[in-house]
């Protein structure tokens, strides 16, 4: 029995890990683009981006998952996600990436706007391009400032991965819950809880390390 539970939980946790890392890979850069959009001086773009961010942050991720998965099929009459679990997994990723990109974009924006204008001007009068100023001067200062809120979001994402089951993606909690119905076992669910705790604990340690690493400047 124990072995069977562990196998199921492993399968579920791999899915959870996949959702976690693939979401980050997509949403971290996408969030930066969106934050540039919300700070754009081109007002239509700014308005559009701000509206998207508002909608995505103002509605439950669960709702977004359902709409993104079923919406295209019902509206366009075609399931753009493909059949089976593969298709559902892609829909989950799309929903998560968009959702987290919007959250990250607001954190980036706060960080970028907190950098004093003098930093940009000092770089520009030295003849650096706007790109060079951003990547060589501003970015690391932004990273340092946004580490605490990013750490929160990463931990939220760990827990949000469990929402994937809404559209039948077999993630960790589902894997654990199966044994309640079939065998009346509760401990597999406790194991999933321990898994989340360890995962978010490791993240907390990693972020603390990063903060320490960037503590050489103020």
């Amino acid at each position: 029995m124990f072995q069977q539970v562990m196998m199921e939980l492993t399968t579920g946790s791999v899915k959870t890990l996949e959702i976690f890392f693939l979401t980050l890979i997509g949403s971290l850069p996408l969030g930066l683009l969106i934050s540039f959009g919300t700070m754009s001086r081109f007002l239509p773009l700014k308005g559009l981006m701000k509206t998207i961010v508002w909608i995505v942050r103002g509605t439950p991720l669960m709702l977004q998952l359902i709409i993104i998965y079923y919406g295209p099929g019902l509206i366009l009459g075609a399931n753009i996600w493909g059949m089976g679990s593969e298709g559902r997994f892609i829909a989950v990723l799309v929903a998560f990436i968009i959702n987290y990109a919007c959250y990250f974009s607001e954190i980036y924006r706060g960080g970028i706007e907190s950098i004093p204008q003098g930093q940009y001007e000092a770089g520009e009068v030295l003849g650096l391009s706007k790109r060079q100023v951003f990547f060589k001067i501003v970015l690391l200062q932004v990273v340092k400032r946004i580490l605490p809120p990013m750490s929160n979001e990463f931990i939220n994402l760990v827990k949000d991965t469990s929402l994937a089951r809404i559209i039948a993606v077999y993630e960790l909690i589902w894997a654990g819950q199966v044994f309640i119905k079939s065998d009346g076992l509760i401990w597999p669910l406790f194991m999933t809880g321990a898994y989340y705790l360890i995962f978010s604990g490791l993240l907390t340690i990693a972020f603390a390390k990063l903060e320490k690493k960037l503590s050489y400047f103020k």
């Binding site: 000092a122 009068v125 003849g127 391009s129 001067i137 340092k144 103020k218």
Partner: protein, 249 residues
């Protein structure tokens, strides 16, 4: 030929005209001190010279070359190239916090590949020595006093070898006991090769170091001349009352 020639510079923010036709001329190796009461437009003038603001009207020439004309549009590329004629030292230092003293100084020359890196490093060492911070080369800005930070900022600007070095009230953000070290460094830079424009409220310093003084009042050059003409024999009434107020303060 003048190294810097500014003609009829106008700059407005919204409806307020801040520069109302400023003219300036400076020879190589000269030190120009700009004085004037608060809000007169001194910072705005320096910012226009450094392309941090774009004047709507007027021209700027460096060594006889027209590098800015308010009537014509200018591309970002031209701005980047032309602003290398100038260096700027800010009131608030604006050092890059994540870089050491030396890295602050070498960052731009290295990114712009001015010289081979080794050469940039040795020039930086010389500059650091010149501003008296050899023992701080590997420190970060937060480990320095305000006066030391400002000296780094001066070295950083010098590293780009500008034709003209601009200072906007370089000691205003400093505790009084730290102004001396910065003013001494600026004074030590005075040479036939270094041309400087210094906005300052330090009248004693202006009198001692400047070859030329310009009094800017309400967006215009209200008086200009040698330190003796400006301080010992002021003609303009507004200049007289400004100097009287400065003496009292």
């Amino acid at each position: 030929m003048a190294i810097l020639e500014i003609k009829n510079l106008h700059k407005s923010f919204g409806k307020t005209e801040v520069l109302k036709g400023v003219d300036l001329s400076l020879e190589k190796g000269e030190v120009l001190a700009i004085i004037g009461s608060s809000g007169g437009g001194k910072t705005t003038l320096l910012r226009c010279i450094n392309y941090l603001e774009l004047a709507e009207e007027g021209t700027i020439e460096v060594k006889g070359e027209l590098i800015y004309d308010g009537e014509k549009s200018i591309t970002d590329e031209e701005i980047r190239k032309n602003r290398l004629h100038f260096g700027m030292v800010f009131q608030q230092f604006n050092l890059f916090p994540q870089y050491t003293v030396k890295e602050n100084i070498t960052l731009a020359p290295k990114l712009l590949k001015k010289y081979p890196d080794a050469e940039i490093d040795s020039t930086a060492d010389e500059l650091i020595a010149k501003v008296g911070l050899s023992d701080k080369a590997d420190n970060y800005p937060w480990q320095l006093s305000g006066g030391q930070q400002q000296r780094v900022a001066i070295a950083r600007a010098m590293a780009m070898e500008p034709d003209i070095l601009c200072f906007d009230e370089p000691t205003s953000a400093l505790d009084p006991e730290l102004t001396g070290e910065v003013l001494r460094v600026i004074k030590s830079l005075k040479s036939k090769d270094n041309t400087m424009v210094i906005v300052t409220h330090e009248m004693g310093f202006a009198k001692e170091v400047a070859d030329k003084i310009v009094f800017i009042d309400n967006g215009k050059v209200e008086a200009a001349g040698s330190p003796a003409e400006i301080f010992d024999n002021p003609k303009s009434e507004r200049l007289k009352s400004f100097l009287a107020a400065m003496l009292k303060a």
